[in-house]
Assembly symmetry: C2
Homo-oligomer: 456 residues x 2
């Protein structure tokens, strides 16, 4: 007999994962290595040490260890907001009149408002351990920047954040939250870096992009002794840290004997999706179980669904390493939609390889449909979701409605990555009927592809 | 041997209280009854039924039943965000180097951002049960309005919110959150009511107050068939619903064999404080245990510490019942400080009686000191607190520092009523050194006292 599932499944503090899970160890086809943009040779640890913290470089390059222990100093911080709840969406199910069973892993129960804190605290921990003065980073929606500010404040590190200008303007209060935690925040592109000045000269009036902001943050880290650059998504190390999401999700489901049929996550650079699916993908890679895994991206920035699988720069300024990934071209600047966290031209190399090899699928959705789902969800489940997270809600609702048609009682799990408290401008536009959808034309995309680096 | 206390104590869903606790049943000196403002006679249930829902009137007048069962329909909603965590502030203790043990009951883990949802859902439930079309209310900081919007959306009730103008302007996004949940929001005083027009004529350019907004909301409820007025604080029924906070707190502490020495809560109208202390006060009233109970109020609106214990109107427009309470006079409009939820001229009659009878003490604090505590707390405990809640943080820190002096290892519990995500304007002013303190002079207060209704 099925046990009564509570509305919220909270794991005990003692059930907090003790190690992160590294999907790459179980991939027979490993993701392609990062390349030096000058020589096109795989980057060595030594080369990467100039940009990233040493321990993080080791994690970045580690393709063999399936489990990396979580240091006690990080676990202590995790205990302030983890384990996060896995929620059974009883109210949503009832409203949809679906036989599907819907669960969501809610990562918004911390001040950064999202899952980003899981990797921020890890990266700050290793920076502190290395004796650094501070770190630099970019932020889109502001969630990563807030998370990093909190983590740096906890360890007493300096924190410089380059924030995508369009988000900076849409979310004036995000800057203030970061200030509460002692960070300095600069709208990007800015005139404080060479690469920023160059981008401003070429694209005057641009709202910026994650790619631009990354270029600026990397430049500042490389030029200032005692600083390193940290990134909130895309990289292997970030997916590793975020595996805590999936590990908790799986532990909570296992506790009640529930096996999901489908796992849905929004995908910008891949940090949430890669973390949420990690242990499930592990079982799939090892042939132990099967799950349908769906990445959801905005129609305005469709790297999986319309991008090319190719080596490309991670940043607009073309100073970062080359990564093999699904990409729209590092010169592609997506329309200023309201999901700043999903406005990245590329995608995690690990997820790109898994997608390429058929281990997961992807769909793209338009933002007005996303906000409809967000509001519907908020009204029955209480939580006001972030626009990014609402991409996953949209598809979870669509899949639950398909179940209603077919009568299948599928178990759907999706990642509710964060809250939308700082996205009220977007909700306002939606309510006032001023939100439009933007889908790039094939010509728009071709311009991005033409810009891909020529490989031998 | 003391059990290892986790960072967060989460009760199980099955441990959610099944009944609210009614402090009045254990008070030998009952709070004075509400009076008809015309006749100065105690209000009957029949008279109150025109303003409030019937079941809520029964709860308002019930001085004998110590336990009121929580209906299943309300408990189901509670399960979406309750039990809320009781957190051991290990990081704060460490930073303060205090022997004190500090706990806080965190009520901000829901979209309304505060404890207000506990009573909002109860009041909406009874309104729905009575077959009403909708409800009207006032909101200060916006937390109550948001909570009520969420509750009304859940039950399909119309919701009209009068929002104190100064908060409406400081917190533009609060309005949008309420719109997500389908509420209509009007800045108060407004020209949509008789009383609003009168107040505007007498005080042109006023930023409003809770007292003004109450008058408007009551007028609209009374004039529109199928509508009733609901209030987020002050009333006995609200303290009753909020007892869920204290009951959970006590259950969590009991689980680990912890007995607090001191319980601290911020106090505006008294909803949080009355809820948090309820079961502890019950033990105190019955002579079973003793606790030091401290109400914290803003120096700019010091109803306990500088007010008079007298019959007064709950609203500025003088259309509401008279309540015997500590009051600054219904004409007192506090300076536009940044803790909108604490800008009420009066105080719960129940708490007023308990304070008068020596069962609790009160202190007032200045807002710059409050924001210093807020930032200190945010940086070590992660959570960005609401300005209202930060009043309690200020005093908890002060008490913990006293313990450092004396070497006493007191156990301090305080109520962290909510989050400050919509208070970033206030944090910005604080950071920019533009926040000032305002303490009313004796003359300011005398003007309010001169305005008290003449009783026989």
């Amino acid at each position: 007999m099925e046990q009564q599932i509570p509305y919220k499944i909270y794991l005990d503090e003692t059930e907090l994962p003790k190690a992160w899970y590294n999907m790459r160890a179980d991939m027979s086809q490993k993701p392609a290595p990062l390349l030096n943009p000058g020589t096109h040779q795989p980057l060595t640890a030594q080369e990467l040490d100039g940009i990233f913290c040493e321990e993080l470089v080791k994690q970045e390059l580690n393709e063999t260890d399936a489990w990396i222990p979580i240091p006690a100093g990080i676990r202590d911080f995790y205990k302030m907001y983890r384990p996060s709840p896995l929620v059974r969406a009883y109210c949503l199910e009832q409203q949809l009149e679906t036989p599907a069973k819907i669960y969501y892993k809610f990562e918004g129960n911390n001040t950064s408002g999202s899952h980003k804190l899981n990797s921020a605290i890890a990266q700050a921990y290793y920076a502190k351990k290395q004796g650094l003065k501070g770190v630099t980073t970019e932020t889109g929606a502001g969630q990563w920047g807030t998370a990093l500010s909190m983590a740096c404040s906890y360890f007493g590190l300096d924190c410089k954040v380059y924030m995508v200008k369009v988000s900076y303007e849409q979310k004036p209060f995000r800057r203030e939250v970061m200030r509460v935690y002692g960070a300095s925040v600069v709208p990007s592109p800015s005139d404080t870096t060479e690469v920023g000045r160059k981008i401003l000269a070429e694209h005057p009036g641009t709202g910026g992009s994650l790619g631009c902001a990354i270029s600026e943050a990397v430049e500042v880290a490389v030029k200032n002794p005692g600083y390193r650059y940290v990134l909130g998504s895309v990289l292997n190390q970030v997916l590793l840290h975020q595996s805590v999401i999936g590990l908790e999700t799986k532990a909570a489901l296992d506790k009640y004997g529930v096996k999901p049929d489908m796992i849905i996550g929004c995908a910008g650079g891949g940090s949430n999706l890669g973390g949420l699916i990690a242990p499930f993908m592990g079982e799939k890679l090892r042939g132990e179980a099967d799950y349908q895994i769906i990445a959801v991206e905005p129609a305005s920035c469709p790297s999986f669904t319309r991008g090319k699988f190719a080596y490309d720069f991670c940043d607009t300024g073309m100073i970062c390493p080359l990564a093999k990934m699904y990409t729209l071209g590092s010169g592609f600047i997506p329309s200023p939609n309201y999901a700043g966290g999903l406005r990245f031209h590329g995608m995690s190399s690990t997820l790109s390889q898994l997608y390429h090899d058929g281990y997961m699928t992807a769909v793209s959705v338009e933002q007005t449909k996303v906000f409809e789902a967000a509001e519907q969800f908020a009204r029955v489940e209480g939580i006001l979701p972030a626009p990014e997270s609402s991409h996953a809600i949209r598809v979870a609702i669509d899949e639950a409605l398909k179940c209603k048609e077919t009568g299948e009682a599928k178990t759907i799990v999706f990642g509710l990555t964060g809250t939308g408290y700082f996205d009220m401008v977007a909700y306002e536009k939606f309510h006032d009927g001023q939100m439009t959808d933007y889908i790039p034309t094939d010509e728009d995309l071709q311009a991005g592809f033409d810009n891909l680096p020529k490989m031998d």
